[in-house]
């Protein structure tokens, strides 16, 4: 059987099993193991590749960031952040939909997980929004769209996976994700202000109330400071920053704000220990699938096709990759997509001379967009389930919001200097700059 046919068989089996209801990790492994039968690769090698995919120190950050989110929501500390968001923007036209966006911008900086974000925001704000008369499809759409910010801003788990697998600076991806994350957040706020339901009119919270809400939320808000501060100063790696944030919550935040929750910590650990294994086994399975895919020259075939169309034009290369990832992201989750297509991405990044951090953040934004597009918009699916509305209704309400993502992605493709500005300022080496040997400062590639 030819390589092309085996690749097609693997992809078909993965999608067939996946859409039949087999868990993603097992679908990927089943497709890979069956595909391997038609090659000279042994099944033992496939199992080994699965193991290698997980045995990566950078991936240790994932359980820590998930544990931070779990502890924050389980101890109900996120409510303080929600109240601060309400005081800050609750008076603006759009009311609670503005609060959803700002709350997500805060919480994303603590959890890094889109699914944790959507679950927490749905619980915190879904009920109040319904009571204030917002339509359930709109509630699901705005919560889902806001939750995708977690994929971009630090400590994004998607960025951890991209950096670990693609050998790209994770800290650089974190920093580069801030501008597009803010653009999506502000874009959603503008959308809600102009096109969204007006919501309930609230008086602007007095400065004293805002200050009090800020004081209430100050301990949890230290988490992004610890994460970013540790990484930017070079004191911690992203993985270590994650564990320090966990220690901060357990030693300081929970005893200070929710002492009664201490006895429930074993429960949180058990659940977080289960939850983190799910993306990790998927990473292992996707690594095996991606390895066989690359071995059969599947990535090379697509790379040649894209290079044939785009030549060495970086914008066109990125545009075609965004198109490809938009289509793939409609069917598969971001993490397996990144792992399977990383050889292709690396080849094209080099061929078109694109900064790897720039490429990474554009593709992560594209995959974040895929989380709210049909047929497999995981975050929109979760939001519609939590809010209690049909997926098709939530999808219709989300359609106009797509423009915020499309504008952001286009902006990121055409203005790399803006995207890379922050990492260049705080972590120049992460984007390929090096110290000037004959003086102060850094020399950066154009």
């Amino acid at each position: 059987m030819s390589s092309t046919l085996i690749v097609l068989l693997m992809v078909f089996l993965f999608l067939f099993f996946g859409y039949l209801g087999v868990p993603v990790a097992f679908s990927l492994l089943a497709g890979t193991l069956i595909g391997a039968i038609f090659t000279d690769v042994s099944a033992t090698a496939i199992v080994q590749k699965m193991f290698d995919g997980m045995d990566n120190e950078a991936l240790l950050a994932i359980p820590f960031f998930l544990l931070v989110g779990e502890l924050m929501s389980s101890a109900n500390i996120v409510l303080r952040v929600a109240n601060l968001s309400l005081r800050l923007v609750g008076h603006i036209r759009g009311g609670l939909s503005q609060v959803v966006t700002v709350f997500s911008m805060f919480f994303s900086e603590m959890s890094g997980s889109t699914t944790a974000d959507v679950a927490v925001i749905s619980r915190a704000l879904g009920g109040p929004m319904k009571r204030e008369g917002y339509s359930p499809p709109f509630i699901a759409a705005i919560i889902a769209a806001a939750s995708t910010i977690a994929a971009l801003v630090p400590p994004s788990i998607t960025a951890v996976v991209y950096g670990a697998i693609g050998n790209v600076s994770i800290a650089g991806l974190f920093m580069a994700g801030v501008v597009p994350g803010l653009m999506i957040g502000i874009g959603l706020m503008i959308y809600c202000y102009i096109f969204g339901p007006a919501g309930m009119t609230r008086p602007r919270a007095p400065f004293r109330d805002v200050a009090l809400a800020f004081r209430d939320a100050s301990l949890p808000l230290m988490i992004p400071v610890i994460l970013l501060g540790g990484i930017v100063t070079g004191f911690f790696t992203p993985t270590e920053a994650g564990v320090v944030a966990v220690a901060w919550i357990i030693v300081v935040v929970i005893p200070a704000l929710k002492r009664g929750h201490i006895k429930l910590l074993p429960w949180d650990f058990c659940l977080a220990g289960l939850i983190f294994s799910l993306p990790l086994i998927t990473i292992g399975a996707a690594n095996a699938f991606g390895w066989l895919f690359a071995y059969l020259r599947g990535a090379l075939m697509i790379a040649e096709w894209i290079t044939g169309l785009a030549g060495d034009n970086p914008q066109l290369t990125m545009f075609l990759l965004v198109l490809l990832f938009t289509i793939i992201g409609d069917f598969i989750e971001p993490v397996p997509t990144i792992i399977i297509f990383m050889p292709l991405v690396n080849a094209l990044t080099q061929a078109a001379d694109i900064n790897p951090v720039h490429m990474g953040v554009v593709l992560i934004a594209t995959l974040a967009f895929g989380l709210i597009t049909p047929p497999y918009g995981l975050v929109l699916l979760m939001a519609s389930k939590f809010v209690g509305v049909r997926f098709s209704q939530a999808l219709r309400a989300a359609l106009p919001i797509y423009c915020v993502f499309l504008i952001t992605i286009a902006f990121m493709i055409f203005f790399p200097k803006v995207v890379l500005w922050l990492p260049k300022q705080v972590l120049p080496e992460s984007v390929g700059c090096f110290k000037n040997p004959s003086g102060a400062g850094y020399i950066c590639p154009q």
Binding site: G21, F51, P63, G95, A272, G273, L274, I281, Y376
Partner: protein, 195 residues
């Protein structure tokens, strides 16, 4: 209710044998202990490095906890039906069609589990010729997690297959929110009026 009782998921009871409940609880507790274990070792790794006396073996212990936690979580998630899925097509079906889809999906999982057992075992044997630094422990100590996970996944899948074929897969149950998402008490009251 004890922690162990709370850790056993009450949903899809008709697909489970009560005899395996203690195993589910034990695996959940093991997940928590392993997570706590590698949190602690990473913290000690930072501390010992910062004071200038790094304990190099901590990284080895961390990766052992990490790998075993992943495979333990993978196994127990099969029993709890917590794995990430693209669709839940079976839930929309009834009768024979549902049985066929439910059996087919579990047959695929079982097939992969059997591959974990056999090829994981071969990998485990091969692992005695490679060693982890600095302790020089055979890497087989890590590879052992794969066949163990395979045995557990196969056991839980067979449990669901047998009970599903015997009792039927479909059962009306109230939707249960994910247990890992805490109820939020509600936003602070604010004054306001509808426009």
């Amino acid at each position: 209710m004890t922690l162990a009782d709370r850790l056993v998921l009450k949903q899809r009871r008709h697909l489970k044998w009560r005899a395996l409940d203690p195993l589910e609880a034990a695996l959940m507790i093991l997940c928590g202990l392993l997570l706590l274990g590698f949190c602690t070792t990473v913290i000690f790794d930072i501390i010992t490095r910062e004071i200038g006396r790094p304990w190099l073996w901590l990284q080895e212990v961390t990766s052992t906890f990490f790998i075993y936690a992943i495979f333990t979580g993978t196994a127990v998630a099969v029993r709890r039906n917590d794995h990430l899925c693209l669709t839940a097509i079976a839930d929309t079906l009834t009768g024979a069609a549902r049985t066929v889809v439910e059996v087919a999906t579990r047959a695929v999982v079982l097939g992969v589990a059997l591959c974990f057992i056999w090829f994981g075992y071969l990998n485990f044997l091969r692992g005695f010729s490679s060693f982890r630094m600095p302790s020089m422990t055979p890497i087989a100590s890590l590879y052992a997690a794969i066949p163990i996970c395979g045995v557990l996944v196969a056991l839980f899948t067979i449990e669901q297959l047998v009970n599903g074929v015997r009792n039927g897969f479909a059962r009306d149950e109230p939707p249960e929110p994910p247990p890992h998402v805490a109820e939020i008490d509600g936003l602070a009251p604010v004054g306001g009026e509808r426009t």
